[in-house]
């Protein structure tokens, strides 16, 4: 029942408030051998990885999208209030009748319940992030020699959200980098080179060795389920992209974020010069300060 209620509530929220102005994140991931010409309205992300694991990126809402979201939410609240007014009138009618009933007449009847007034605090409404996720499919390799994936996305700021597999029934299995990660800007009309995504624990499992990297070990040793190797000049680049404008992603520390998919929680392995941790506090290595929660 709880599941059905949640799904119904969600479906209602999404359907009833289908955004007119909101722009869901869009993406196109290229298969091997696809001829690429850069669309100036799109940003292109290139990343290498030794494992075919799916990764979720989360695009930060632009100011115009934030405004559109607020307007949508206000409209939803207004609609909920109108609905509440009708329910309240019905309740007042019913409770009056209930109060006039004798104890015998009430037997077997359910006392009318006063409806809950919708407020800004209790309104059930989608999160602004709900349509800003992009999936980078691990299995869709653009260039086998370099193990590169290439995806076109809306320009903007993206957070490396986590590694997770989405079932065809909406289920999700994997982990989010909810307790610390990185973000980067994806500029239009060019390729942002994300370097390599590595999975120390999964790679060690594949190689049948104890996980370790650069002196780090799992748990209190600082090694986590995912790490990033920023682009190095020697990194292999697919031949078909060699002449196209490409620049290394400038990673920044990204603070904590919610576990939207209810998966396992983790954080990105510290990235020297960019991201570190003081206990669970996410530290922006460039400023030495705490990174803001998203």
């Amino acid at each position: 029942m709880r599941i059905l209620m949640l799904i119904s509530a969600a479906a209602a929220a999404f359907a009833a408030h289908a955004p007119a102005a909101a722009k869901p994140a869009s993406s196109q991931q290229f298969k091997a051998g696809t001829a690429i010409s850069l669309d100036p309205a799109k940003a292109y992300l290139l990343v290498r990885s030794p494992l075919n694991l799916d990764v979720k990126l989360l695009r930060e809402a632009r100011p115009d999208e934030v405004e559109a979201y607020k307007a949508e939410r206000s409209a939803a609240l207004e609609k909920a209030r109108s609905k509440y007014a009708r329910k309240l009138a019905g309740y007042e009618r019913d409770i009056k009748a209930w109060n006039a009933m004798s104890a015998n007449a009430r037997a077997g009847q359910v006392k009318p319940e006063r409806p809950v007034e919708p407020t800004d605090d209790n309104l059930a409404f989608k999160a602004i992030e709900s349509d800003k996720f992009v999936t980078l499919w691990g299995g869709r390799v653009f260039d086998k020699p370099s193990q590169a994936r290439l995806i076109a996305v809306d320009p903007g700021t993206y957070r490396l959200y986590g590694q997770m597999i989405e079932g065809n029934n909406g289920s999700m299995l994997g982990f989010c980098l909810c307790m610390g990660s990185v973000d980067f800007d994806a500029a239009p009309g060019r390729i942002t080179d994300l370097g390599s995504f590595r999975y120390p624990l999964a790679e060690a499992l594949r190689d049948k060795v104890k996980p370790s990297w650069n002196g780090l070990t799992p748990g209190k040793g600082g090694l986590t389920g995912m790490r990033v190797e920023p682009m190095r000049p020697a990194d292999p680049v697919p031949a078909s992209l060699a002449s196209l404008p490409r620049e290394a992603a400038a990673y920044r520390a990204a603070g904590k974020i919610d576990n939207f998919f209810g998966v396992q929680i983790d954080r990105l392995t510290a990235l020297p010069g960019v991201l570190s941790y003081r206990r669970d506090e996410v530290v922006d290595e460039r400023s030495g300060g705490a990174a803001a929660a998203n």
Binding site: D120, N122, D185, G219, R252, D280, G289, A293
Partner: protein, 180 residues
């Protein structure tokens, strides 16, 4: 690439959890002393509690609440003040996460959900610098809960989390510190 504005870089991760005022003196300290019996260690993957020295009750309680909230998939953090998220402590604010959890419940079953909660609490509290210590099941069940297909009522949940916070500040036990 432009550097973030200094003000943003210094902004601290705020939690979106409504404050719950608690008088620590009124929270019972759970029984933590025991003599290890044969077989107890087999249960330490499931039955454990967290400890951190030089930590006060309010800090420990907030830490446990944050980890509990994060693993439940509800709104835990503020969004830099750009978007209203007044959903403190409710499922309604994180429909995506709630749906994900509910579907996972239906598909993967309660055992996986319980296991995920244990793993998430270990991870989250571990990152916060707490150590983990085992308990016999009968002591553990007096101030903990498992969460699979069925949830725990909010009032009861908070009472148990408060007891866990009390245990967390009770001092480092003689028992062995378990792996992260």
């Amino acid at each position: 690439m432009a550097l973030p504005a200094p003000a943003q870089a210094q902004k601290v991760a705020d939690r979106n959890l409504a404050p719950i005022e608690v008088d620590p003196a009124k929270v019972p300290l759970p029984e933590l002393g025991f003599t290890e019996a044969a077989g107890d260690r087999d249960g330490y993957d499931k039955y454990f509690y967290f400890v951190r020295s030089e930590t006060d009750f309010a800090t420990a309680y907030n830490d446990i609440r944050e980890c509990d909230s994060l693993t439940r998939g509800i709104r835990t953090y503020l969004n830099g003040g750009t978007v209203p998220y007044p959903y403190a402590g409710t499922m309604a604010g994180a429909l995506g996460g709630a749906i994900g959890s509910a579907l996972a419940d239906a598909i993967f079953g309660s055992a996986l959900r319980r296991n995920m909660r244990r793993t998430n609490m270990r991870t989250c509290m571990g990152y916060k610098g707490y150590s983990r210590h085992g308990l016999p099941k009968e002591l553990w069940t007096k101030f903990n809960f498992e969460e699979g297909l069925s949830g725990v009522a909010e009032d009861e949940r908070q009472k148990l989390l408060q007891m866990q916070a009390k245990a967390a500040i009770a001092g480092k036990p003689q028992t062995e510190e378990l792996e992260f």
